[in-house]
Amino acid sequence: MDKQYKVVHCTINGKKVERIVDVRASLTDMLRNDFRLTSVKKGCEVGECGACTVIIDGEGFNSCIYLAVWAEGKEIWTLEGLIGPGGELSDIQQAFIDEGAIQCGFCTPGFIMTSWEIVNSGKEYTDDELRKALSGHLCRCTGYENIFRAVKKTMLRHLGKFEEAEKVNSQGITEYPEPMPFK
């Protein structure tokens, strides 16, 4: 039986595009091979590691198990789309650098895309909720504490809680001064 191809129209990082793809191709393959968006990493290819995470219509998806043809009419964002017109990094990317949340860097684009969704949600996540929201990503360098801290600080800054963000300690816990004892 012959291979089947389809035309896909979608918006990638704010730009309308169209491509002819093999119906069996994953979105990861389309983004990497056709658009050279190599921040989208091929990790496990079973949807467990989260290295291929992209944002589709505002929600994070594992692009390795998402068919390219399903992207028809969708708005897709990858890490490359977060960079400003002058090459400046977004605040979540800068936070990963500032907090040392990068070691080998392979999981980083996926983590940042999910983090971007979190910090732009306008919701204040508890520490537990934040850990659960990030649990679809695996970091084999085990840099989870630094990643957690980067996301928590950026989330608080997005919510206008700048002082609270500065109080997030190395364990990712927000430190408050001891209450004054009653006299």
């Binding site: 291979k3 089947q4 989260g50 994070g60 594992n62 043809v69 679809g136």
Partner: protein, 268 residues
């Protein structure tokens, strides 16, 4: 090997296109993963992504009706889905995967480490199906499993779960992301205690013998529960990388005992 993809626009088109050499693809977390046997065996994949009418969650007379293409995340975020089903959906730790995986796909995959099936078995959930000749039916999830294993082609269009039952569930895995060696659920239904489990590499079971034992003697001891599963010859349990047969039988026993106590409101 699958080379064709049909983007079905309606459940009738999807069900009518199902042949022995075709397979349905719902959220993609099972069929699209590396190593999946489905695309290797099927010639055509029938995508349900664009199917209309399979994505609603609504209250009906028998409980809550969930469209088969509703994702795990939609279930978690819904205000009307009962908490016990949300708990089962949250067994899938990855939110990005929950955005993709569907309730219908998880049932149809019949995985031995299924996230939802033990819970759906325990509450005797109903499944609405559509056959290739256009016949609609409403069957219990256990009957769906038997018919599906017998090779009958059916498209799941909705799942109906009761909304006012007490359910307890537990999943044993090394990490939140790992495959579970055992997922179990028990429910206190009107007809009495029900217990179901998914044992990795062995299958999904409703433990009717244990249910009868508990109905006769609600105050069974932990030793009795362990002994029941140790001697349950009808359960074909194998030794593998997830643990020995004895370990899996022991887990079944202690978990079943804990569930009995929890449902009776006793301390565990």
């Amino acid at each position: 090997m699958a080379t064709q993809l049909l983007m079905a626009k309606s459940p009738a088109e999807a069900a009518g296109s199902k042949t022995a050499s075709a397979a349905f693809i719902a959220g993609g977390t099972e069929v699209n993963r590396l190593g999946s046997e489905v695309p290797a065996q099927a010639e055509t994949l029938i995508s349900l992504k664009k199917c209309s009418g399979l994505g609603q969650i609504e209250k009906v007379e028998k409980g809550i009706k969930i469209g088969s293409m509703c994702t795990f995340q939609q279930i978690v975020e819904s205000e009307i889905v009962p908490d016990y089903l949300k708990e089962a959906a949250l067994f899938m730790a990855s939110r990005t995967k929950r955005n993709m995986a569907t309730i219908g796909g998880n049932i149809a995959a019949l995985r031995s480490d299924s996230y939802l099936l033990p819970t759906l078995f325990a509450v005797c959930a109903r499944v609405e199906v559509l056959t290739p000749d256009g016949k609609q039916d409403d069957i219990c999830v256990n009957s769906y499993k038997e018919a599906s294993e017998a090779g009958k082609d059916m498209l799941i269009t909705a799942v109906i779960v009761p909304d006012n039952v007490k359910v307890v569930s537990k999943r044993y895995s090394n990490t939140a992301q790992s495959h579970a060696v055992l997922t179990m659920s028990a429910a206190a239904l009107e007809k009495g205690f029900t217990l179901a489990g998914a044992i990795k590499n062995c299958g999904i079971y409703r433990f009717k013998g244990f249910e009868e034992m508990v109905r006769e003697n609600p105050d069974i001891s932990e030793e009795e529960a362990i002994a029941f599963f140790k001697g349950a010859d009808s359960l074909k349990i194998s030794e593998d990388m997830f643990g020995s047969e004895a370990y899996k039988r022991y887990l079944l026993g202690v978990t079943a005992y804990d569930f009995c106590r929890k449902l009776a409101g006793k301390e565990v």
